[in-house]
Every structure is written in structure tokens, then in C-alpha cells.
């Protein structure tokens, strides 16, 4: 293992800003794994730390294959993490909207550029990502349909779902999109949590990456058996919204299977304790996303369900591969 500084920026008032990478093996740039990019992504940081720990063990046992190099970058934004801010400390910009970056531009454009120069050229790219709204997810691989996406490869992670998304103009600055455009097979892996640690779901994605590395011949060690993933379109997920604001009281967990009409959550009057709204499943499905803040606004998507039943069966070859 070699610890390398991928990008460094000097600061007047703080220690230098450093993006640090851990390299395992040598030779062909096989896979790069990127962890937290926003200051609240502690679970993503934790996942990387566990992956580094595992790769160290494998390397000591000689299980990283000849001519393969794997890099893990646990954190792209230590400055925000260390002060509990989600975005860049001064201008509140999001590094994950700045790719491919610009070396003469604003601070976060320079960071994105410095990082992206390292990221270009890997055969596979993995980002432990988080969603822009806070909540819990069923672990899944998310991919943008850029024309370069490879669903077959995404399935190798063996997480329960592969979710396909059509990029919107807003996405043109995100890492996953740019990585694909620059011909790295890029995958965003979502674990259950973001701002708190969940060891179980973290270890699932670490297993999943280990397994993937084995299947592509980068290491000689197989992760735990996974799932045969379902491929779903994000646009086919069923959103369940609140109609009232108040205290959000969820009654089901992510990954739970629910039937149409089942009670999923309640919105409670914050002063009088009475139920303002009962939130029920609008179809038979699996809970893919669950809102996690204790207070909720009206018209907020608090659940996303993967419809099951007629949707589950699809003619072969319908996946866009």
C-alpha cells in the first residue's frame, strides 16, 4: 500500500487541504473508489476506511493480482467534514457539481480538476454517493444512462438493485456522468445511511466491491455471496408524498415488503399529538427510500417504492446494456 497526496491546496487559516489516496497493487489503473465528497457523508467515509482495511489485509497475503492497481480515496472534502458543513466552507459550492473541473477556476473547480486528473484512465470507477435529500436507501448501484453505461457490469456488484437514471442538464457536473464520458465504467453505490454510521450496510458495499474486484480479476479473494440484482428505472419508482406538515413517524424500514394500503407512516400534529395524516402504500412494493428527518413539510416525498407484481417480469433483453 502506498499513501499518496492526490491534490493539495494551501490555506491561510487551516492546515493544507489534502485529498489523499491509498494505492494497492501496481500496473494497469483497474479501479478507483471515491468516498465522501460532501461534509455529511460519514457513512461513505466509513465504507472507504473499511475497504482500505480489507485491501491492506489482502495485499499482505499477496492476494492483489499482478499488474492491477486499485486506488481508494476516502474523502474528497475533509475541510467540510471537519466543521460539520455539507458543502464548501466559504462559498457553499458542491464539489460534485464541478466536474470535470477547471484548473484556473474557482476553488472547488480546481479541486474537481485536481481529482479528476487522477480519476481519468481507470477502467472502473466507484463512488460511494449520497442523495440530495436526506433519507435511508436500500443498497443499490445507480447509473446514469449516458450511452456508455454497462448494466452487466453493474450487476456484478450483486447489490439488491441496479437503478438506471436519465441524466438531466443539472447532472452534467457530477462525477459519475463525467467519469463515464471519459470512458471509465462508473458506478455510484448507495448504502443505507449518509450522516450516521451503519456498519451492516457499510460492510455490504465493502463485500460488494471486493466481489467485483475478484470478478474482474484484480484480486484473488471473493466477497460474500450477494444478490441477483433487479434492474429498475428510477422513473418507475412510486413516490409517496405527505399532504400535511408535522412530525414524521415512520412505521416501516427500508427493504420492507409492503402491500397496497399498508400504513407506512404517520404525520403527527407537533403540539397536540393527533394524527394529521396516515401515509399508506399506493401499491404492492418494496421500500426503496425512506425520509429520515423527524420533521416533515407538506408535499415531501417520504417513501419511494419499487412496485412488485406485474413489473417484476420483463422480457429478456430489455435491459439496456
Amino acid at each position: 500500500m502506498e499513501k499518496v497526496i492526490i491534490y493539495e491546496l494551501e490555506s491561510m487559516y487551516r492546515d493544507s487541504f489534502r485529498v489523499t489516496g491509498y494505492r494497492f497493487g501496481s500496473g494497469e489503473k483497474t479501479m478507483c473508489v471515491v468516498g465522501s465528497m460532501r461534509g455529511n457523508e460519514v457513512q461513505q467515509l466509513y465504507c472507504c476506511s473499511q475497504l482500505v482495511d480489507r485491501l491492506k489485509t489482502l495485499e499482505a497475503k499477496g492476494l492483489i493480482n499482478e499488474g492491477r492497481s486499485i486506488t481508494v480515496i476516502p474523502c474528497v472534502n475533509p475541510y467540510s467534514m471537519n466543521i460539520g458543513k455539507r458543502f464548501w466552507p466559504t462559498d457553499n459550492s458542491d464539489i460534485n457539481r464541478m466536474f470535470p473541473g477547471y484548473d484556473l477556476g474557482e476553488t472547488t473547480q480546481r479541486i474537481a480538476d485536481g481529482l479528476f486528473k487522477e480519476l481519468v484512465g481507470y477502467e472502473y470507477g466507484v463512488q460511494f454517493a449520497s442523495y440530495h435529500i436526506s433519507g435511508q436507501f436500500t443498497p443499490h448501484v445507480r447509473m446514469m444512462r449516458t450511452g456508455f453505461e454497462s448494466v452487466q457490469d453493474a450487476k456484478v456488484f450483486a447489490l439488491p438493485y441496479v437503478v438506471l437514471v436519465d441524466p438531466v442538464p443539472f447532472d452534467s457536473g457530477v462525477l459519475n456522468y463525467n467519469w463515464q464520458i471519459w470512458e471509465t465504467k462508473a458506478f455510484s453505490l448507495y448504502t443505507q445511511e449518509t450522516s450516521r454510521i451503519d456498519r451492516r450496510s457499510a460492510m455490504r458495499v465493502v463485500d460488494s466491491v471486493t466481489r467485483f474486484l475478484n470478478r474482474i480479476g484484480a484480486i484473488s479473494y471473493d466477497g460474500k455471496a450477494g444478490y441477483i440484482p433487479d434492474v429498475i428505472e428510477e422513473s418507475h419508482l412510486i413516490s409517496v408524498q405527505t399532504s400535511e406538515a408535522g412530525i414524521f413517524e415512520p412505521l416501516v424500514e427500508v427493504e420492507a415488503q409492503v402491500n397496497e394500503g399498508d400504513l407506512l407512516a404517520r404525520v403527527i400534529d407537533p403540539y397536540e399529538g393527533c394524527v394529521r395524516q396516515e401515509i399508506r402504500a399506493s401499491c404492492d412494493g418494496v421500500v426503496f427510500f425512506r425520509h429520515s428527518d423527524p420533521l416533515v413539510y407538506a408535499d415531501t416525498v417520504v417513501f419511494r417504492l419499487i412496485p412488485i407484481g406485474e413489473f417484476r417480469f420483463r422480457p429478456a433483453g430489455q435491459d439496456s446494456e
Binding site: 491546496l9 487559516y13 484556473l104 474557482e106 476553488t107 443539472f170 413539510y297 416525498v301
Partner: protein, 309 residues
């Protein structure tokens, strides 16, 4: 008359309300023109508050000359203004990336949709911004090159110093201005001053510009204020200066003045060591129309924009 544009119940005993002031004389014909003055999308930009005040005050005192409908929306993002938050508090979202919104969307999309629908159909909309807390801007109108032909002639009435025609590539599609222009409501984006402050001179300048535009539109038959002729320029004529190092930026020139190539614009200094870390010199002859106001800079922070002449 104060009218509610949209309201929504917040979780704990509070209603979020976006309101407007409709100023119109009695007995207007059905085809009377309507102009919307909107501001406060970014909660840390306050220069537009003064324009709204000046305009409302002036029109109330001079109703006999008003020949159309003036809708004033001082606070599209009231929670942001009240909490010194640029975006929509609670959503970590830039409101000016949510238009035209969706009626069946989330709270922020719903609010955006109701605001958008309320404005759409007006003859002209002026969306007033105040840069951010980092940069001071000369009063200017920013226009996407795709709409330049229609909008530049209107911008000339606005009493601004500068009209900046942006290339289409840098245009953001989910802004209020883009969305309104897309449905035929001619929208001018004004940028001036600096975040979290009022620049009284600029507020008065733009207010006069709005009256002069209203006169051009046939909505005002009172005395027409004298307006200055703006410099109209395109992207290629704008030079950016970014900080080469982090530190404290000390300007050595005034905002909005002529500079010569090589002229000393400012320094990035170290308060700890007493060293000048970077001496910033102008890369060209031109006019400094954007100048850094917030002293702390990281490497890459924008220091100035110069219009090449």
C-alpha cells in the same frame, strides 16, 4: 393591494407566505400592460429591497401617471431573507434552480410553480439580484445571447452601466429568468451591489431605470428620468482574475474604474507574517466591473472581472 401569491403550512405552527403588492390605477383597460419587479430569490441579496421600496413609495405618490399594472414581489424566498440564508432553508437548495417548478412536486417546487404562474403572462419582468457576499457588482443587466435581440433594447432603458450578453453555453435552464423568457415573458436579470448590504446609490439608479422602461412600454406618462447609456458587451471581452493563493485580499483600486494593463489592483497578504503573498496586476486595459468585497480568499476565489476595452 397586498395579495398572497402562495402559502404553505410549515411543520410547527407557521405559514410560509409569498406576497406581492399590486399597484394599479382604477379603471384600467383589459389590455393594460403589466410589469413584475421580483427579488429576494437569494436570501442573502438585499439590494432589491430598496428598489421595491423606492418604486412602491414613488408610484403611490404619483398614481395619476401610472397607466398599467405594477406587481412588486420583494421576497420570493422569505425564509431565506429572514435567516440570512442564500438558498431555501431546510432544503439546501438554490431557489433559482427550481423554476418553473411543479404544482404536484415538493414544497419548494410547488412554491416555485405558483410564483412562476403568477408572473408568467406579464409584459416584462425585472429579476433583481445582488451578486453574493463575496463580490461587488456595478449595476448591470445580464442577458442570454439567445434572447439578446429582444432584451438588449429593453435593457438600454434600465439606467445600468453595463449589459452583459452571456453565451448560451453558460445558461442555466432552471432559473426564473430562463423559464419566463421561454414562455414569452420578457425577463431582465439585474445584478448590482453586494450581498447582505444596501447600496443606496444603486437602488435609486435602478428604480429610475424601471420608471424609464415603464415610460417606454406606455405604462407611465409622468416625467421620464434621464438614463445613462450602458456599455453592451459579450463574454469574450470579460477577463477573470482568480486568487493564486489563499489569504486576505486587500484591494488597491476603486470599483468600476479604468485600469491599465499591469496596473496594481490589489494584494493577497498574510496577516501572520506580514508578507504580500501575491501582488495582483491587471492582465489588460479595461474596466473593473466586479471586485471582491469579502476579504478572505482561498486559492481560486474570484478577485475581479475586467471588461476589456
Amino acid at each position: 393591494m397586498i395579495e398572497k401569491v402562495v402559502s404553505i403550512q410549515l411543520p410547527v405552527d407557521e405559514e410560509l407566505r409569498v406576497v406581492k403588492n399590486r399597484i394599479a390605477p382604477e379603471g384600467l383597460p383589459d389590455d393594460a400592460k403589466r410589469i413584475c419587479i421580483v427579488t429576494g430569490t437569494h436570501g442573502d441579496e438585499l439590494e432589491g429591497q430598496l428598489v421595491c421600496f423606492e418604486l412602491a413609495r414613488f408610484l403611490k405618490d404619483n398614481m395619476q401617471h401610472l397607466k398599467g399594472i405594477v406587481d412588486i414581489y420583494p421576497a420570493l424566498n422569505p425564509l431565506g431573507i429572514d435567516s440570512i440564508t442564500r438558498g431555501i432553508p431546510g432544503f439546501d437548495l438554490d431557489m433559482n434552480r427550481t423554476f418553473p417548478g411543479r404544482k404536484d412536486g415538493s414544497m419548494s417546487e410547488y412554491v416555485a410553480a405558483e410564483i412562476f404562474n403568477d408572473i408568467a403572462g406579464a409584459d416584462v419582468c425585472i429579476d433583481i439580484h445582488a451578486s453574493n457576499i463575496f463580490l461587488r457588482e456595478i449595476p448591470q443587466i445580464r442577458i442570454n445571447e439567445l434572447t439578446a435581440e429582444e432584451l438588449v433594447p429593453l435593457a438600454r432603458y434600465m439606467n445600468v452601466d453595463f449589459v452583459w450578453v452571456h453565451s448560451a453555453a453558460t445558461v442555466l435552464e432552471s432559473t426564473l429568468a430562463y423559464s419566463l423568457n421561454a414562455v414569452g415573458t420578457k425577463t431582465l436579470v439585474a445584478e448590482m451591489g453586494v450581498g447582505m448590504r444596501l447600496t443606496i446609490e444603486y437602488g435609486n439608479q435602478l428604480s429610475k431605470g424601471i420608471i424609464s422602461l415603464m415610460a417606454h412600454l406606455g405604462m407611465w406618462d409622468g416625467p421620464i428620468p434621464y438614463v445613462r447609456e450602458p456599455i453592451v458587451s459579450v463574454d469574450g471581452k470579460v477577463e477573470y482574475i482568480n486568487a493564486a493563493k489563499g489569504g486576505i485580499f486587500v484591494p488597491r483600486i476603486e470599483h468600476w474604474r479604468d485600469v491599465r494593463r499591469g496596473e496594481h489592483l490589489g494584494d493577497i497578504v498574510s496577516p501572520l507574517t506580514g508578507d504580500v503573498l501575491v501582488k495582483i496586476e491587471s492582465p489588460c486595459d479595461g474596466l473593473v466591473f466586479t471586485l471582491r468585497e469579502y476579504p478572505v480568499v482561498d486559492e481560486g476565489s474570484l478577485i475581479a472581472r475586467i471588461l476589456k476595452v
